[in-house]
């Protein structure tokens, strides 16, 4: 199994294979994501509707997937905080009886695998998907799960990644594995 491209996002920087391709002064994740979207000319309006976890996973994946053919690339992602960033916001909308406004547009993002769905939609990837939650990034686990997908012939490549976000604390480490 070979690890080809690697994308890291942290501290307001996007780094591909050790090279910084975008950097911002803002410490606020939403602003950082918006600036990155503009600068990198991503041109995908659905991006603006995504929650922050999906934006993070999307940005990191986009840098690796680009416009290549990924009709046989599986997606195996993991993080620590699941969708708690959006869960918390959704919970605030139902905490008080006087201010009770559950929104379907927010609720749909209260699942961690939605970010995988967003990436699949963008690249028309009708492929194997899995989302795991663990207290820390466990590359060995993700790689052995990915290896099974490759060995059984269910995909030719696997985009693996750690996409962790809660409020202003975030980190993405996404990489492509091939046989």
């Amino acid at each position: 199994m070979k690890k080809t491209d690697i994308c890291k996002i942290e501290n307001s920087k996007i780094i591909i294979n050790e090279q910084i391709i975008f950097e911002s002064k803002t410490e606020n994740f939403s602003d950082f994501a918006k600036e990155a979207y503009k600068t990198l000319e991503l041109n995908y309006p659905k991006f603006h509707k995504m929650d922050n976890l999906s934006k993070l996973a999307f940005l990191a994946s986009e840098m690796i997937l680009k416009n290549d053919d990924h009709s046989n690339t599986a997606l195996v992602f993991a993080n620590k905080s699941s969708s708690l960033d959006t869960d918390f916001k959704y919970q605030e909308s139902i905490n008080s009886q006087d201010n009770y406004f559950p929104s379907p547009a927010v609720f749909v993002y209260t699942l961690p695998n939605i970010c995988v769905g967003e990436i699949s939609i963008k690249h028309k990837m009708q492929t194997e998907n899995a989302f795991f939650v663990s207290d820390e990034f466990d590359e060995e686990f993700l790689n052995s799960y990915a290896a099974q997908i490759l060995q059984s012939g269910k995909a030719e490549k696997v985009l693996c990644g750690w996409v962790e976000l809660y409020r202003e604390s975030y980190k993405a480490f996404v990489y492509l594995l091939t046989r």
């Binding site: 919970q91 905490n95 995988v116 899995a130 939650v133 799960y145 269910k154």
Partner: protein
């Protein structure tokens, strides 16, 4: 290649706190679904809910009072479903512990200004693992409503990868204001007991349950039963994050891959335990996908009329009931189904009927465009 077997299981549901009582209730067509008030100042919803007092009594029968402290209702449900399996099978350094859940202890979030530790799924998994003394790091699968089916796939694949010899898989979710209000905001909740695949279906009933299974590559000689996990797949629709594909692409591909890996043809499948949430779009999508696979004549049911939709628990719970069906050579009807309400033919089970079942196909679909399928063989 290593053969992987399910050799034991258990479940905790409104119909009973073990498989035997659940099976008996199902034969009598009992349902856990009833009207309950879940949200203050809001009308009651049809949900399949475990009576908290009965759960307490059951818990105290098996666990001493010191163990009762600091446990949520969901955690008690998890412990009760795992306990008999842990007593019957030894935990070693090569035993995996796999938890499947969509929302875990999400109820703890209500009115909190910071995140309580218990809402982290990894903390929930570690707490359960420590309780029984699991030695490996817990694995948590959180793939919306397909998590329960995927938990079996993950056990199979991780045992094949060589790191583990066996696995305890547990799946569970509880009814919460969080989830009910969300599905209600989508107008996805049915105004009556849900009617999967029926012409008059109008939405889902949510439910709560936990289910547990023991999966191994080294079954002993005296197992009471064995089901081989032959194939699995989980393919995304790549179509929409909150609605199923109109062409059933992801489910079709998942079933196709799982059957290919299992080396089992459409004619060989004896029974399909489908997802059947009773929303208009889901059931229609499934009918299209099964027809594309030429599975329209295979007897099929959805268990949602008995248990509601138990999110991350449903796939494992329904797999367990399917295996129980196979062991008892009895097909269970799709409760509340009367008249076909999907555009394509399906062979929906209407009465309890005797049937020799060797190959089972279990499927699920969920938010995020995810789908999952597994093929099991009674051996």
């Amino acid at each position: 290649m290593k053969e992987i077997y399910i050799t034991d299981y258990n479940c905790v549901t409104p119909l009973g706190f073990d498989v035997e009582s659940n099976w008996k209730a199902l034969l009598e067509r009992k349902s856990g679904v009833a009207l309950h008030k879940v949200i203050e100042n809001h009308e009651a919803f049809y949900v399949s809910k475990i009576d908290s007092e009965k759960l307490e009594i059951e818990f105290k029968r098996f666990f001493d009072s010191a163990q009762n402290d600091n446990l949520t209702k969901l955690e008690k449900m998890f412990l009760l479903s795992l306990k008999p399996l842990v007593e019957r099978h030894k935990i070693s350094d090569e035993t995996a512990f796999i938890l499947s859940t969509t929302k875990g202890n999400i109820s703890l979030l209500k009115n909190e200004s910071t995140l309580p530790e218990g809402v982290y799924l990894s903390n929930l998994a570690q707490k359960l693992a420590d309780f029984f003394g699991f030695k490996t790091k817990p694995i948590v699968v959180s793939n919306a409503c397909v998590s329960g089916v995927m938990a079996i796939s993950v056990a199979k694949n991780m045992i094949r990868a060589g790191k583990y010899k066996d696995a305890f898989v547990v799946a569970g979710d509880e009814i919460s204001e969080f989830v009910i209000s969300g599905f209600n905001s989508f107008q996805a909740i049915g105004s009556e007991p849900c009617k999967p695949y029926d012409k008059n279906r109008n939405g889902i009933n949510l439910g709560e349950a936990t289910a547990a299974a023991y999966i191994t590559s080294t079954p002993s000689e005296n197992e009471k039963f064995k089901f081989k996990v032959l194939g699995d797949s989980a393919i995304n629709d790549a179509n929409h994050i909150s609605g199923p594909s109109r062409t059933g692409d992801g489910l079709f591909a998942s079933v196709q891959n799982a059957m290919k890996e299992a080396n089992v043809s459409a004619e060989q499948i004896d029974f399909i335990s489908a997802h059947g949430t009773a929303t208009l779009y889901n059931d229609e999508m499934e009918a299209i996908a099964f027809n594309r696979m030429d599975l329209q004549n295979v007897p099929l049911n959805s268990m949602k009329g008995y248990y509601g939709h138990c999110l991350g628990a449903s796939g494992l719970l329904e797999s367990i009931i399917s295996m129980e069906s196979a062991l008892n050579n009895t097909l269970i009807p799709c409760k509340n189904f009367e008249e076909i309400g999907v555009s394509q033919d399906l062979n929906i089970i209407k009465e309890n009927q005797p049937k020799e079942i060797k190959y089972i196909l279990k499927t699920a679909s969920g938010f995020g465009g995810c789908n999952a399928a597994i093929v099991l063989e009674k051996s």
